[in-house]
Amino acid sequence: MKQAISLEDAIALIPDGASVMVGGFMGVGAPRRLIRALAAAGRKNLTLITNDTAIPGEGPGPLISGGCVARLITSHIGKNPEAQAQMLSGQIEVELVPQGTLVERIRAAGVGLGGVLTQTGLGTLVEDGKQVVKIDGQRWLLETPIQADFALIRARRCDYVGNLEYTLTAHNFNPIMAMAGATVIAEPDEIVPLGVIPPDAVKTPGLLVDHVLRRAC
C-alpha cells in the first residue's frame, strides 16, 4: 500500500543531474504536473529521455524552455524550435533514436535484457559507432538498454497498490518507462480504492510504482 505524496515531495526526490524518463507523445499522456513543477523548481543538468519534445509549453517542453536539460535522448524534436536551437548551440547534447528502437531499448532495461537487435538504423547514420552482430549471416544492429534514475508516468487511474490504467493514445511510452526507472512516480488522473481496477485492466502492476502523486485538488 502506498500513501499518495504531494507534488512538492515528489519533486524533492529528483536532484540536479538526474536522468529522467517522461511519458507522452506530442504532449498527449505526459505527466504535466510533475514536468511543470520540476521546471519551476529550476532543476539543472538533467538527462531527459522522452519520445519527442512536443511544442514549447506542451509535454516535456517546459523542461527545455527552462534550460533544465543537458542531455536529451529522443526520436523527434522537429516541432520544438527551442529544442532545435539548444541542440544547434550545443547547450543540449542530443541523441536521436528511431522511435521503435527507443521504446525497445527502454523495455530491454526494464526486463533485464542486454540489448536490442534490430534492422532499424542499419545502413544509416544511426549505425555509426555501434556494434553489429551477425546471426546466421545476417547483420543486426545492437542497441543498448536505456534506464533512468526516475520515470515520470502519466496514468488514467491508479489504486493504492500502484496499479495503473491508461487510455487511448495516452498509453504511448508510459507503460514501458514504468519498467525502466529506478524510481517510478505515477501521476494518475484519479486514485481509486483497492479492488476498483479489475486485475485484467491493470497495465502496469503496482510493484513497479514507487510513488503515487496526490490529486491536484
Binding site: F25, M26, G27, V28, G29, N51, D52, A54, I55, T74, S75, H76, I77, G78, K79, Q84, M87, L88, V94, L96, P98, Q99, G100, T101, V103, E104, R107, T118, Q119, T120, G121, L122, G123, T124, L125, V126, R156, Y166, T167, L168, T169, A170, H171, N172, F173, N174, P175, I176, K203
Partner: protein
C-alpha cells in the same frame, strides 16, 4: 485539383480492401479522405491507435485521442488502443501492410531520405526509420521538386532513412516504381508528358512502351 489532392487521390488507389495502413503527418494523412468508407481499411497511427477515424465535431474532441501529429481524431468501432512497444512491434514485425510517408529525396536505388538536413533542419526520425524497414509496402507521397530542385535524384545527398528500396513514389507529375534496374516511370499525371517528367527529374527514368496517364 491541386497537386496535393492529386497525389493523395492517386495513392488511395494503391490501398486494397481490408489493408492496415499507416499514414504519415501532412500530405499522406490526406489519403484517408479519398478511400471508400466500405473498403474496410484500418488506419494505424504510431502513437497508439489502430482504427483511427475522422476529426470529431467541435466540442467532442478527447485530449487523449490524437494522431501522431497531435491532431484530434476519433476511433472507429473495432479500434484498439496500444502502447508504443506494441505499436512498433506491429510495425517492425511486418504486421503493417502499407505506410505512406513524405519524402525529401528518393534516389535511383529507391532509397528514401526524409529525416534531416545536416546543419539545418534536424527534426529526428521519429517512427520513419522503423516504418520504412518494417512495413510490407512503403509508398512515398511527395512533391516532385522542392523550389525547382528535383527530389528524385541519382544518389541521395541527404542522410537516408533506410537502405530499403521503397515500393512506389507518387508525385504531382508521375508514378514511379523503383526496381532492380532503376526507376520505372509507370504513369504520368493528366496533361503531363514523359518528357515533362524527365525534364523535372534529376535521376534517370526507365520508360517501357507507352506510359499511361493516371486515372483519376
Amino acid at each position: 485539383m491541386d497537386a496535393k489532392e492529386l497525389i493523395a487521390r492517386r495513392v488511395a488507389q494503391e490501398i486494397p480492401a481490408g489493408a492496415i495502413v499507416n499514414l504519415g503527418i501532412g500530405l499522406p494523412s490526406m489519403v484517408a479522405n479519398y478511400l471508400p468508407v466500405d473498403l474496410g481499411v484500418f488506419f494505424q497511427a504510431e502513437n497508439g491507435v489502430i482504427g483511427l477515424g475522422a476529426r470529431p465535431p467541435e466540442g467532442m474532441e478527447d485530449i487523449n485521442l490524437t494522431d501522431a501529429g497531435g491532431g484530434f481524431v476519433s476511433a472507429v468501432p473495432g479500434a484498439a488502443a496500444i502502447d508504443s512497444a506494441m505499436s512498433f512491434g506491429l510495425i517492425r514485425g511486418r504486421h503493417l501492410d502499407i505506410t505512406v510517408l513524405g519524402g525529401m529525396q528518393v534516389d535511383a536505388r529507391g532509397r528514401l531520405a526524409n529525416w534531416m538536413v545536416p546543419g539545418q533542419m534536424v527534426a529526428g526520425m521519429g517512427g520513419a526509420m522503423d516504418l520504412v524497414v518494417g512495413a510490407k509496402q512503403v509508398i512515398v507521397a511527395m512533391a516532385h521538386a522542392n523550389k525547382g530542385v528535383s527530389k528524385i535524384v541519382p544518389d541521395c545527398t541527404l542522410p537516408i532513412t533506410a537502405p530499403r528500396r521503397v515500393s512506389l513514389i507518387v508525385t504531382e507529375l508521375a508514378v514511379i516504381r523503383p526496381e532492380d534496374d532503376g526507376l520505372h516511370l509507370i504513369e504520368t499525371a493528366p496533361g503531363v508528358t514523359v518528357d515533362d517528367v524527365r525534364a523535372a527529374t534529376e535521376a534517370d527514368l526507365i520508360v517501357t512502351g507507352d506510359v499511361p496517364e493516371m486515372r483519376m
